[in-house]
Subunit: 150 residues, 2 copies
């Protein structure tokens, strides 16, 4: 799944991501970076709404799981089970969220669970940056639930 | 600030809240409930996008702080410093987030800080429900930063 395809997928299937102006900066098995402009995500103080910041960060990490599951030729319902965000400073411009892949051993375990038809879980993080400065940090627990063929 | 005024305020100052279809169900010093339909917040599996769920819940608690600050005749920059959401089950329809006020002693301390020109902090929670079922829980740390008159 190439960056352009991922962006089209997000905009089609999660329409609020389109409203938020989310675009894919980088998307591969090692790292996903999603960007977003200030304007559609602005709050009452001309900085980024906390909910938009959380959305972009949670989505960046979710995309890593999607790419890993697709790469393995699997289909699964990928959901976030817990997500938390530390807001470090107000974000007063365009911003991006980068989620980096954990080590391969984590994905080996993860995919083994899926292959056995069991829910697979993974902890991921995302750093939110604006103007090359770290502005927020997200940590999330994601699960991929095998889709049973009928 | 009446529910209708709060809704207009949110839609004007946090435009993505309008895109999410967020509306005010109840808004007073004791409790804020915000509702949202599924459609603009839908994800790839026809359930609510986790980022939208987080946004509505974080905003409900934020509104309580806004109403408390306004009631006290103060002006302050109200920000979320940390927010976390437990996603209990997929949300497959319209949903709402309810944040209830903590005890009055919490607000007394909070407003005392503001009166002294210091940042005031408060921990709030919000329950997200859909079809009368608890579907997610949010906990957030909020700060009101005094606005210095120039």
């Amino acid at each position: 799944m190439k960056p352009n395809d991922l962006e089209a997928y997000l905009h089609e299937h999660i329409p609020i991501s389109h409203q938020m102006g989310i675009y894919v900066v980088r998307a591969d098995l090692e790292c996903v970076t999603l960007g977003a402009p200030l304007e559609p995500n602005v709050n009452h103080r001309s900085t980024v709404f906390g909910g938009s910041c959380a959305s972009v960060a949670m989505l960046a990490a979710w995309c890593i799981v999607l790419l890993r599951v697709r790469e393995a030729g699997r289909d699964a319902r990928i959901v976030i089970q817990h997500g938390e965000v530390d807001y470090l400073v107000p974000i007063d411009g365009a911003f991006s969220a980068t989620s980096r892949s954990p080590e391969e051993a984590v994905w080996s375990r993860f995919l083994r669970s899926l292959e056995r038809g069991r829910p697979a879980r993974v902890e991921l993080a995302a750093d939110v940056e604006s103007a090359s400065k770290l502005v927020a940090k997200m940590a999330g627990s994601y699960a991929a639930l095998p889709i049973r063929k009928r």
